[in-house]
């Protein structure tokens, strides 16, 4: 059920939760500084699985152990063109990957691969802050200092921009005359919007987001379709911004604001949020993973070895067929134990920072 109180912080410490609706993988650690796009947690599945009859491809008899011919291990990510199996001898046969995938295992002489990874749920930070606490398998609490408002309805989008106000002396109604180049990239707040066509037209100017004190329920379906975030702070119906909300927004004009609402619309129990950090947000110059070096301890985020710790033994460059990635390392060889070394994409591991 809904929380019976609405949180409004004019200025002070802001603590926001970023949780999955059910158990998944958490990708941040306490103390980590996050930017708005930092992934906090996710639930992922591999949508497509396919079989490869390696016995036929290698032209070997069915009673032979196909593991002897494999050049890959279970859980490994395979790129296009990478050798999967090889038969040496008089009649050399090489089997290569036709598509990028992950090797899952062997069933009845066939190899099972999986492709099309898809985030069933993906929780991002939505504002710059610091991770203060982790809830295992669910997400994290993030903190910053500034102003904070909870809305009652959001369209499930996230966005950011400079906070601007409509002319409240003219009723604060978001109308056609407000759709100017000024709102491009900005977060605009107004008492209400009465005309669905105005809301539709506003998309042409690509605002960073819109905040309304009220919106009629007949306009909500259009608001849902907008590519930018729309948050209602006070009422579904006809009304205006309540005084505390107006005061907080008014005091933060021309500050950078972040709008966050979870993507389940009215079914969602988490209220949409407006976060206005005190300090100007400066994106991090480099990601933490770029600091990775041989010998570092990491944790494997998911997959067959999900949750296990390992030591980085080698940083590997990008795939040969990916010209953009050539100069960048994007994979890493990890030693899990004496007998197990696996190659993983950088995004599938996290550094273990012990301070």
């Amino acid at each position: 059920m809904k929380n019976s109180s609405t949180k409004i912080i004019t200025s002070g410490n802001i603590c926001c939760s970023r949780f999955l609706s059910e158990d998944g993988a958490v990708t941040v650690f306490p103390g980590q500084a996050v930017d708005p796009s930092t992934q906090i947690a996710y639930r992922k599945i591999w949508r497509k699985h396919f079989l490869m009859n390696i016995t036929e491809m290698l032209e070997i008899s069915s009673d032979e152990n196909i593991r002897d011919y494999l050049t890959i291990k279970e859980g490994e990510f395979i790129s296009v063109g990478e050798v999967i199996a090889k038969r040496s001898g008089k009649k050399t046969q090489v089997v290569t990957a036709k598509i990028s995938s992950r090797f899952l295992g062997i069933s009845s002489g066939s190899l099972i691969f999986e492709t099309d990874p898809d985030d069933v749920e993906n929780v991002i930070a939505g504002f710059p802050g610091v991770v203060t606490d982790i809830v295992p398998s669910r997400g994290a609490y993030l903190e910053t200092i500034g102003s904070y408002l909870q809305g009652i309805w959001g369209n499930g989008k996230k966005g950011q921009g400079i906070l601007l106000s409509m002319d409240m002396e003219k009723g604060g109604i978001f109308g056609l005359d407000n759709i100017t180049v000024d709102i491009a990239g900005a977060i605009v707040f107004a008492n209400t919007c009465l005309d669905p066509e105005v809301l539709k037209s506003s998309a042409k100017m690509s605002p960073g987001g819109l905040i309304f004190g009220s919106l009629s329920s007949s306009i909500l379906p259009i608001a849902m379709k907008m590519p930018f975030p729309v948050i209602v702070t006070d009422l579904i119906g006809v009304g205006r911004l309540s005084d505390p909300v107006h005061m907080v927004l008014g005091e933060n004009i021309i500050r950078f604001a972040y709008l966050y609402s979870s993507s389940n619309g009215t079914q969602n129990t988490q209220r949409p949020e407006i976060i206005i950090p005190q300090e100007e947000y400066v994106p991090e110059s480099e990601s933490l993973l770029k600091k990775l070096k041989t010998g570092d301890q990491i944790r494997i985020i998911d997959g067959f070895h999900g949750g296990e710790l390992g030591i980085v033994v080698e940083l590997l460059p990008g795939m040969e067929n990916d010209s953009e990635a050539l100069s960048e390392m994007d994979r890493v060889k990890v030693c899990i134990d004496q007998n197990t070394e696996i190659v993983l994409p950088l995004s599938n591991i996290e550094m273990i920072n012990v301070k």
């Binding site: 019976s4 591999w46 295992g105 579904i236 998911d302």
Partner: protein, 583 residues
């Protein structure tokens, strides 16, 4: 009557709903359990840091104030057992509906063998499997892995094989599950309940115990889906899953020293038990309208059919609105209101499901919505035959939207309009929210259940007799005599009535008294399904006595708003005030 030494003198039942937590108190007085009172508070599972237990504490504190007794100690723990100063309690039972769908996938070797048994088992708890994987369906292992992962199950029940073989086929089936688990991160892996061949248990344990949580239950193919141990294993699994999802549920189990049961199952069990009290071969239909879902339980001679539908008067209203036009809803509201205002109320209600209708206008909107919940539920669960063929004998209406009404007549009208069943049907209202209590306490304290089932647990609204006839082809005009009947009371006094057509014709009678009804004259063009009009119909009077609903086969409202409002007002006036229940 001798009293067993370990008989619980005070029992509390906790109903953890999606929006409200409700506490009911029962005392053992004069050799019998009686319902003492109830209190409710908001369910407190707002985020992962909260606990449903704090909502339970709030509700119990309210009950303490109302009864001037103490049930909790200073640390908010239940005081158990009861003390000589009348403080504390002896027993707690609870059910919950505040959890998410457990998303159960079933896997078996054959459609008609293990899978059918698993389907039957799940049906006892009102759960439909999210996916069925059958070894005999001829799909490739990769396709079955895709299907299983797409369904994103929280629980997988694996069955198959007899006690004399087929374990290899079970291993092949298990292989699909093993690869699906390997594909997922550890946190996302489903819990597994193995109900297959005991011969395969060792191997299954060897493979799956390292991968995910695994439990075993007896082979469902051997013992069948009606066996209590299979049901117990399933409920235990669902409880375990709910405890992971609902913050504080585990805490409540520990403090209450009992495991709860899913609310759907509790409600279904209540209706099943009530079918025993009903006339033989007649159905009882229980409808529990909640914020997030509606439960439809239909039972006859202890044979239960249970459905959980995603329809409700809270966060699920927008889903309900997809199945009908707003103007249709508006036509059932008895005052002038714009469609946009109705829509605004509905949207606010979906954002604040705990919103209580604070005036008659909001109450009427919710009651109109409830009629559509009933219509949609009947459609989705295929109840139309039951509502037409006269095999329905009793309807129990449950849920806060029908309970928290100013006049129980509103609830009766909701049932009559929303379901519109033909025949002679007794309507009951769950005034105290005890429908699930009966099912939840049935195992813990069967004596209590037998006592409260004997007492007037539910408010008898009355018998409603609805003849079936086509308004367009009938010879009789609206308002003219359709039936001629006689009612005889216990003293033998007979009163005759002409029942007019196109009306709600109520005959007020003394509450709880026995009467006999004779049909003196019934025209050929009408039928009263399930009623033998040539013999007297005995019944116990409810608070609306006996009601004849002669509005015809379809309840069509006039087209213009003024006439619609007048019609609704007329029907309400015809039903009249309810007779206060005698002590």
């Amino acid at each position: 009557m001798s009293q067993p030494q370990n008989l619980a003198k005070t029992v509390i039942y906790v109903d953890l709903g999606t929006v409200n937590t409700r506490i009911c108190l029962f005392d053992h007085q004069d050799h019998s359990y009686v319902f003492v009172g109830a209190a409710s508070a908001a369910t407190s599972n707002t985020d992962l840091n909260s606990s449903v237990y704090s909502g339970v504490v709030d509700a119990v504190r309210k009950l303490e104030r109302a009864t001037k007794r103490k049930f909790l100690d200073q640390n908010s723990n239940f005081m158990m057992p009861m003390k000589p100063d009348n403080s504390g309690i002896d027993q707690i039972g609870f059910s919950y509906t505040c959890n998410l769908d457990p998303r159960i996938a079933i896997m078996g070797l054959t459609q008609t063998g293990s899978l059918q048994n698993l389907r039957n088992l799940l049906a006892r708890t009102g759960i439909k499997p999210v996916v069925e994987i059958c070894a005999a369906d001829g799909l490739a292992i990769s396709e079955n892995i895709d299907r299983l992962l797409d369904a994103d199950p929280r629980i997988v029940i694996l069955a198959g094989g007899t006690e004399v073989g087929a374990e290899k086929a079970v291993y092949r089936l298990g292989e699909i599950l093993m690869f699906a688990c390997k594909s997922l991160s550890r946190e996302q892996r489903p819990e597994i309940l193995f109900m297959g061949s005991a011969l395969a248990e060792q191997q299954i344990e060897r493979v799956f115990s390292k991968i995910t949580d695994l439990s075993f239950a007896p082979n469902i193919l051997e013992i069948g889906s009606n066996d209590q141990s299979s049901l117990h294993s399933l409920i235990t699994m669902i409880n375990k899953n709910a405890q992971k999802q609902v913050p504080g549920l585990k805490d409540l189990c520990d403090r209450a020293r009992t495991d709860g049961i899913p609310g759907e199952f509790a409600f279904g069990r209540s209706i099943r038990l009530m079918s025993r009290l009903n006339k033989e071969n007649q159905h009882i239909l229980g409808i529990d309208i909640g914020s997030d879902h509606t439960l439809i339980a239909k039972a006859k001679n202890l044979d239960l059919s249970l459905h959980k539908l995603p329809l409700g008067i809270g966060s699920q209203i927008p889903a309900l609105l997809k199945s009908f036009e707003l103007s249709e809803l508006q036509s059932w509201i008895g005052f002038q209101i714009k469609e946009s205002e109705v829509q605004d109320y509905i949207c606010n209600k979906s954002v604040y499901p705990d919103l209580v209708p604070a005036n008659q206008y909001s109450a009427q909107i919710e009651q109109a919505l409830t009629r559509f919940v009933l219509k949609e539920s009947a459609k989705e669960t295929g109840l139309n035959t039951l509502l037409r063929d006269g095999s329905l004998g009793m309807v129990l209406l449950s849920g806060s939207v029908v309970r928290n009404v100013e006049d129980p007549g509103d609830s009766l009208l909701i049932g009559m309009d929303g379901l519109h069943p033909f025949g002679a049907i007794d309507y009951f209202l769950d005034m105290n929210g005890l429908a699930s209590a009966v099912g939840a306490l049935a195992q813990l304290n069967p004596i209590l259940v037998s006592h409260i089932m004997n007492a007037s647990t539910f408010l008898n609204l009355g018998k409603v007799i609805t003849p079936s006839f086509n308004q367009k082809t009938g010879k009789t005009q609206d308002g003219k005599k359709l039936l001629n009947i006689a009612i005889r009371d216990e003293a033998g006094n007979v009163r005759k009535f002409d029942v007019p057509r196109g009306r709600i014709f109520r005959i007020p009678l003394d509450y709880g008294k026995n009467y006999e009804l004779d049909f003196l004259q019934v025209p050929k063009e009408i039928s009263i399904p399930g009623v033998r009009i040539w013999t007297p119909l005995g019944f116990k009077s409810g608070c609306f006595g006996v009601v004849f609903d002669t509005r015809g086969n379809s309840l069509d409202l006039p087209k213009d708003r003024t006439s619609q409002i007048a019609k609704l007002k007329f029907w309400k006036e015809e039903l009249g005030p309810w007779v206060v229940q005698p002590s």
